[in-house]
Amino acid sequence: MKDDLNIVGKRVVRSDSLAKVTGQARYTADLKFPNMLVAKVLRSPYPHAKIVRIDLKRALKVPGVKAAISGFDGYGIKWGVFRYTQDHAMLHTDKVRYIGEDVAAVAAVDEETAMEALSYIKVDYEPLPAVYDPIESMKDGAPQIHSEYKNNINIHIHIDVGEVDRAMGKAFLVREDTFKAAGEAYAMMEPYAVVASYVNGYLDLWMPNAGPHVRAKALSNMLKLPLNKVRIRHINSGGAFGGRSEVAPGDLVASLLSIKAGRPVKLVLSREENATSSRQVHDMIATVKTGMKKDGTIVAKDFKVIYDGGAYSSTGPIATSIPFYVYEECYRFPNVRYNGYRVFTNKGIRGMYGCHGRAFLAGNEAQMDIMAKQLGMDPVEVRLKNGLRSGEMTATKSKITSCGLKETIIAASEKTNFKKRWAKPSRLKGVGMGCVAIMCGFPMGFRSGSSCYVKINDDGQVTIVTGLVDNGQGNESMVIQVASEVLGVPMGDINLVNADTEVTNLDPGAYSQAAAFVGANAVRVACENARKRIVAIASEKLGVKEAEIGLKDGLAYSIKKPDKKMPISWVVREAFFRGEPIVATGSFFPNIDFEREWVSRPWGQMAGTFSFGTSVAEVNIDSETGKITMPRFTSAHDCGRAINPMAVEGQMEGSIQQAGVAAITEGNLWDKGHLLNPDLLEYKVPLACDMPDMDTIIISSRDPAGPFGAKEGGLTVRMNAYSAVACAVANATGELFSELPLTPDRVMNILERKKGVK
């Protein structure tokens, strides 16, 4: 792999940061258009009820109200990512299924008028029995939330590899534990907002989103508009974390209102609405049974995981699978069975999250430590023994092409003196280790690949056009950096046009960790194709062989005699004179097995490559209060190559906050179907004073297919940080936890259980 790089691998200032530090970056709620209306949504006060009648007449009479809609104004088309999950009409006409569900909406000249009008909408409901707990929901006789799904089982993922029962029977050590975890709030700082503008038969939309193309498709279906008439536009996004991947009810609401009123409509959710009515994270119960040989080799795993799926399918099959896959992509399981059930309840819509599956992953890791200890091993040894290596296949037949797992385990443990400290924890001080692997992109049908169009402008500046999306993690800056490296043009001379469905090609978006491995790869290929054209002309003009031409700082030059050079702008002008301007396309389609299907055929190559990582948490527990403090947190991450190490560190540090410290603070609290903490006061996003000192270690494995060797950067830490914390608590207390987050009351219970206090 080429290592003499000019800009890739450097700590560059992100291209989007100037606008953000000056307050000029525009987010959806900042948009204002002439004649724009403000929308408000009437929401269900019932967890489960039949809709008998919705009367909008009085609301429409309020002066200043320009449109009012309910599900009866749409086509009732139900959206779902898969054919077998099409159950979400966004505005339903038959029933409501959770408190806060969108029922009707108005658009008015201002917010106060819209709010007044909402109070005049009359909805007749017939309340139905509701169910909030997935175990109850699966029982015979429980209220049916969707008639199509028996026992409210939305998705059942069944994976069975090898002979689990036989291997378990022969294992030296077998252990089974059950772990629960509360669902979390995404708590992205920007509450959901959408602007819809229907003009001349075209519907333009702005909203924070991770996948504009799939959203445009969903809206075109639901609104019965041709796909080319629905255009999702680029806008800054104030965070997504997996919660803005799919079409949202607000998108349909704003669109219908704009179509009806013939004016632009802006809908901005309140913080509470963002928490109750956009997306939430799954609560879960994971039962983990593990069989080990005497030498610590895992011979069998048997999993049963129940996901509280809320009222609709959402990304159901994917959400039910991912925790399993990120684990089997990390460790060798010769025999493994996974039964994942996603169960409907009368709670909000649940989606994917950056640290989705914490009960399952933290449970597995902590159980492994306890078993290792029984066998006289430590967490480092057992992980090195069972960890996958480059060239190996996962249990479900994905090939690992580059793997720095071992290096991350060693780096993180050496940096923290882990082995010694784990073996002899001082009183209520513990260390814990979490490992995981992450797929860089996963099967999304024909949306799995990305393509890029690049043109070199007459002044030598560059425009790149790609469907890639940035939700704040720095993807835009990353592809500009890649283009700058390939074309030898400074980042400041490169314009990016992205995430606009009209001008960009299909792209997975900021979803499935595809941006670096897939999106940036397409940009690299397109720029390499443009580079060939530049080099050909420069070679001719400078009288230097093509192989000896370098591009740097906007100049084409002879590598052997650097004073032989010319500005790239001259090359471009020459190309214009020849009637062949320098434009190029490039695409990248990852090596994925497209026969793979989440439910019916859960095997085959999952992703083009996998990233790896190890986190080590250090915790101190207050023996009297159970409060955990975290003096230090260390994460080592194989991200292939860090395109911008500063950005990768930022992702890792943010992950330590959102998954690591969150493991002791964050969880949604419920009273039946009522979310008790739909705010930023009682939902505990960690603050600066709650953060540990953080060490981030970047390990380069140089993926053979990744752009400059790069893979996904950061999510690995998000998926292993809570395991590290949970394992550290187990190390400090000598007891296994049963429930996350590890709030002080739960920690006290662990301490008392150990002491035998009633």
Partner: protein, 314 residues
């Protein structure tokens, strides 16, 4: 989130404020820092016809010493008060409670008066109108029963001032002014135990001054919270010791801060107070941690606060 309609009036004297209040026939609210009031109005838990801004009243902004008292104007911000050298030197419990209140930015806006006169809090109460409508109005909102303790015809919301318990341990008194004139009450007598009206203020009465006997104390404030900034107390325990006498006060659990006087501070007396405080604390499931745990922490933090207060005094 937009506010409902109300008028804004600014008063330059206490008399003017009270006169304005009378003009609105009890439908007005006094406004100081607004960090408690504005969220309540946004949630439609308070619906004033007018707010009367007290920040123009000069005498509410001063800290003065005289006749053996430290007198703190109700509009002194928590941040300014914390940084007054007298506080750290004389009243460590109060210093620590101020430092533990919310976050620095809100300490700079919030006032000591507003902090003391804050409404009680509950996970099922501090919610939007839509949320509460879906849930059904509770006792405190004018409904029939509590939403947390099923069937109870009472309120179990928590009084979450960090500073009132500290001030109570310092035997502070509150100087009040209102349509019926001025009066001074012991701070611990400001609480009614009635969830619908937790503070014993007369119609139109405002807090003018907090007065603390100016003598050196040892003390500490222990606060149970999830995050080390921004959070309200899940339990707050203040302890002040003067000579052999001591006082502890428990906040964050229930409507009324509970006071424990110790005639002679020694290990046995502290243990006894801790046991009593533990036994008398009746938290319910209306805050982020379990009631059993919060109850336990009342005793634990009381002992801890005493240890800290007495150790730091040495």
């Amino acid at each position: 989130m937009v506010l409902p309609e109300f008028e804004y009036k600014k008063a330059n004297s206490i008399a003017e404020a009270v006169a304005l209040y009378k003009g609105y026939k009890g439908k007005a609210k006094y406004l100081a820092g607004g960090t408690d009031l504005v969220p309540l109005v946004k949630l439609r838990l308070s619906a004033p016809k007018a707010v009367i801004d007290l920040k123009g009243i000069k005498e509410l902004k001063t800290i003065s010493r005289g006749d053996g008292w430290l007198s703190i104007g109700a509009n002194v911000t928590l941040f300014d008060l914390k940084n007054d050298p007298a506080i750290k030197g004389y009243f460590p419990a109060l210093y620590e409670s101020l430092d533990a209140t919310s976050c620095e930015t809100l300490q700079m806006r919030g006032t000591i008066g507003g902090n003391i006169l804050q409404d009680t809090r509950c996970l099922e109460y501090n919610q939007s109108l839509q949320w509460r409508t879906a849930r059904g109005f509770c006792f405190k909102m004018g409904g029939k029963t509590c939403n947390v303790v099923q069937g109870a015809k009472a309120c179990f919301a928590n009084y979450c001032s960090d500073n009132a318990p500290a001030l109570i341990t310092l035997s502070a008194q509150a100087k009040l002014a209102g349509p019926k004139g001025a009066r001074t009450v012991k701070l611990e007598n400001l609480f009614t135990g009635d969830g619908k009206k937790p503070l014993a203020l007369e119609e139109g009465e405002m807090l003018v001054q907090i007065q603390i006997p100016l003598k050196k104390t040892k003390g500490a404030y222990e606060k149970l919270r999830i995050r080390d900034s921004m959070d309200y107390p899940l339990v707050g325990v203040a302890v002040s010791v003067a000579g052999t006498k001591a006082r502890a006060c428990i906040g964050g659990v229930g409507l009324v801060p509970r006071v424990y006087d110790l005639k002679n501070v020694n290990d046995a007396a502290v243990r006894e107070a801790a046991e009593k405080a533990y036994a008398e604390a009746k938290p319910v499931a209306n805050a982020t941690l379990t009631p059993a745990y919060r109850k336990k922490m009342v005793g634990v933090l009381l002992k801890r606060a005493f240890n800290k207060a007495l150790q730091e005094g040495k």
